[in-house]
Symmetry: C2
Amino acid sequence: METIQIVAIAASVIALLFAGFLTSVVLKKDSGSDRIRFIGDAIQKGAMAFLSREYRLLAIFVVVMAIILGVFVDFDILGRIGRETNDGVPGTAIAYLVGAFGSGLAGFIGMSIAVRANTRTTVQAMEGLDPALRVAFNSGAVMGLSVVGLALLGVTLMFVAFNNDASVVAGFGFGASSIALFARVGGGIYTKAADVGADLVGKLEQGIPEDDPRNPATVADNVGDNVGDVAGMGADLFESYVGSIIATVALAVVGSSTLGGSTEKLDLILFPLLVASIGIFSSIIGTFLVRTGEGASMGRLLWSLRTGIFSAGALVLIGTAALILSMDLDFKLFWVVLTGLLAGQLIGTASEYYTSYEYSPTKKLAEQSETGPATIMIGGLGLGMMSTVIPGVVVIVAMWLSYYFAGLYGVALAAVGMLSTLGITLATDAYGPVADNAGGIAEQAGLDPEVRERTDALDSLGNTTAATGKGFAIGSAVLTALALMAAYAQAVQIEVFNIMDIKVMMGLIIGAIMPFLFAALTMQAVGRAAYAMVQEVRRQFREIEGLLEGTADPDYARAVDISTTGAMKEMVLPGVIAVVVPVCVGIGLGAEALGGLLIGSIATGFLFAIMMANAGGAWDNAKKYIEAGHLGGKGSDQHSAAVVGDTVGDPFKDTSGPALNILLKLMSIVALVFGPLFVSI
Amino acid sequence: METIQIVAIAASVIALLFAGFLTSVVLKKDSGSDRIRFIGDAIQKGAMAFLSREYRLLAIFVVVMAIILGVFVDFDILGRIGRETNDGVPGTAIAYLVGAFGSGLAGFIGMSIAVRANTRTTVQAMEGLDPALRVAFNSGAVMGLSVVGLALLGVTLMFVAFNNDASVVAGFGFGASSIALFARVGGGIYTKAADVGADLVGKLEQGIPEDDPRNPATVADNVGDNVGDVAGMGADLFESYVGSIIATVALAVVGSSTLGGSTEKLDLILFPLLVASIGIFSSIIGTFLVRTGEGASMGRLLWSLRTGIFSAGALVLIGTAALILSMDLDFKLFWVVLTGLLAGQLIGTASEYYTSYEYSPTKKLAEQSETGPATIMIGGLGLGMMSTVIPGVVVIVAMWLSYYFAGLYGVALAAVGMLSTLGITLATDAYGPVADNAGGIAEQAGLDPEVRERTDALDSLGNTTAATGKGFAIGSAVLTALALMAAYAQAVQIEVFNIMDIKVMMGLIIGAIMPFLFAALTMQAVGRAAYAMVQEVRRQFREIEGLLEGTADPDYARAVDISTTGAMKEMVLPGVIAVVVPVCVGIGLGAEALGGLLIGSIATGFLFAIMMANAGGAWDNAKKYIEAGHLGGKGSDQHSAAVVGDTVGDPFKDTSGPALNILLKLMSIVALVFGPLFVSI
């Protein structure tokens, strides 16, 4: 084992230990009165019920896929691969199982802590803003550090076990992707089915407030925040994190020749692990800098989170520079890491600009509510389309700079750089749903309005970080997918994918169709699942006597079950398509066409995902802007128009948009793993 | 001059003569009472005012561009092209001017007849359905035959004048593209600004019916139908028609070697002209088959139009087969033409399936109005995304088949085949706005409800043919753009555009951004122009005494002027971007990157355009389905929800979506014309 590998394992273990420590800090807090605990338990049970059903379904998928990998890739029964390292061990299949397990475990840990931190955040919010922020943020940090810890640990162990052979370790990435697919898609459908169902019947038909305990779907809605925004987001970024590292390692050979031999291949293989390790230490230090005082303004709260992220970024750069100099590596690598980090921040900031009501795009969008729902819809769609330009240009420039410094290796390494501070970035992101849940619990437990005000402040901040986080997730997914595509080209040893080759062109158009198909399937899935929820909630209001009067409790568990069943059923088709289509294109049209498919899907999916995430975020915040008392405030016609926008934006930003991240990366990693089977068919 | 060129010129002249004959038939009809003529005159003046201002603005653009072409391409002052055929004549610049003039003239003719046929259709509708259909359809046929006649005449004369040099004649296509850009974008902004402005104030604020004469924007709305759907659509397809022919000729050398010398290069150069000529004769024969009886059902009316189109298609196939056999050409060419024709019909039919309320997608969409505007929005967006799959697959299969038969030459020829019956396809399309106008005039002149019922039947049919026509326009635009891209590769003599080349990759992502940017700009332009219209209509209702009571006339001209000014101002930026970006990419990143840009924009723009056109069409018809008495009918909450969908769909289907067709083709032809300047920079 190399020193850097030992460092990486140590860093991962420290991350996990620190996550354990933060867990104990969170759990030591008071979990509140009986009523609070009752609601908390319902959410907890619902979340765990979802997770256990999801994992059981996943287990089948994972086992089948592992067997396929073992048979066709490891034991190569078609005799198409002829991998040297195969010594009777089904390496890819093993790596796949470990990757799936690692990602699943990270999701489980993150969810477990999130559904326990919500009640505790509510209780702390009775004390003040800072203690509430600390609990919520700490639980986010447990998620962030578990993800990076398990991801880096897993990927490093795989590299050690399989002798730095990226083509085998790609199985690990594929495993992570498989979990991410179902966690993001299933979680996204779940959360929006519950949300839309709760809103349509509760708010619109029965006229009761959001999060009202009489609404049967309210617990399901709270569960949804956890399964979608905690577990889904975590699995998504777990996948990006390991995918970027694997792609970088796979391209080390190319990188070595690009850098003109100034840095050896082994150094280039180990370098991404080094950057990731530095990132973990930096993230841990960063978490200590997140704190705020009572009565802090929104700007102050945001600044507090930013201090943590920016400090971690600065530490990564300092650490990387120092180690490059001390290890006598090529300093160009530093510029690549810097490029990646900056690009991630710029894309996140652009998302914030387009979706926060502090800036003019969302303010202007809110004004379009004055002429009704149609104009705010048109405005939001226009805004979403327009908002693709800056992230698009940032990715193009980042690609160009990192390529300029270190070739295709550089493009992959830039993704690693972007994701290096994931431990803390994900913490600021996963904290949001906890704060959101805390507010819901305060409402349902009938606590003092002051408590709800505090949790609302935290939640509102969470919305901003969520928008930034979504931009960041998309940006990192795109860079990772591009890097994996380059690794795929390397794996199948094809240097030229010529657009003028009719098969590549066909593959490219098929690739471009995929995001549209995937988004359509997930949008329609939300529609169907939400409809089932609406029926159930209506039934409960009709059949349970005294429910609306507050004298009888609703059947929360039944609503949770409806959402869970809907999500399970609906996630299968998009999931299968995402795996089957690239394989079919590879078999039917060959390895070159598969390259075309990848770039077609990346280009379209990237922009489509940004459009949906930002349009959704802007509608959400335009509504919040009006609720804050502008343009007629709550209850006005303007507000109704904005609610329409927000409802449309929900599946955009929380289901279909994020699902595209997974699609791009999954298809790339499927290509990388199965690619050698398709060569010269 | 070759025999086939003489045939082509003869066919064009016959088309124009027949158009002249149909014009006289239409003009001989009674133009109605004073009131009808008053309204008709207002529409006519408004349309001509728009056209004259548009053409004056265009003239500046065209002259500047012609000078640029003359200096940099023809006289090649940078010394980068070294074209053999240049003997002191600025060929490209001349071809450009002729192309621009031809397209402009076709638009002028089509508009002139459309704004005269509308009143006459109203008058005939007092008699019965068949005479009204005849007038409206004949005026559409004038447009269709003028477009194909002028296009084929112009392109053939250019080939004769410039010795079949496609690189010079490409200037003709560029000229047509320039007009199409402004006609589609400007016309699209105009029509929707007027429509949305009229609806928002008239229907929603003042509660008066659509097309009510008291509404100041109602004439502008009628004008809009003509400038958007007649002139805009005509210019769009004029461009596709000549673009596909030019690309096919440019690829004749490649085709000759693909077909293994069984067919000579000159035959391949002349073959597209032959197919187009056969198409013209077939279209003329087809127009005679369009007629119907009184009390005909919707299905019967549609069938009547279909009979014309299908017969024309069959005649093209018979004619092509006969001539291939008699001239001893390779019979594979027949299969290519068949592929193109079938693909066009399939894409059109798929659009109809997704947007007509005869089929389940739109019916289901209408049902989603039961839960309010948000769910019908989500449903429509999902439907639009899903509806990209069939056209996408059709294009892929058509590409593959035509490539299989005749290589890249085949892909271009398939586009020619698809567009061969344009004379009649465009007639069924351009007839819609005339019927729509006729209904508006009947309403404003206070005619018998029976008249309005008849025009409504024709209009409703027009909506179906418009949806099919939009699908067809997009499909043909995509095939044409792909063909032009292949011609571009040929022109710059680059055989390999490698996706793994970082510059190609960058170009590809820039290309993918373009449709999003273009759609965003045009959507926002509609918003701004509609807002100006809303202000003006409100002002008139406020300031003109007795307007709402019907005792005073509104100032129609002022509203027309507002729309015109808005459209002029708003079309400049998207127009300039569409020309400047490919040139900048060519200069900055080189000819390979420009190829990447083209394929990136084609893949994304194609699907995005289909999505917008079909979502818009489905919303429109879901509203009509409810208005026909389903789901609560007019005035119900479901209807209000559907109106929101329709309003959002308007700029989707009539502005941004169609504008993308132009973007794809324009960027391809810019690349083809300027390409040689960018080689090996």
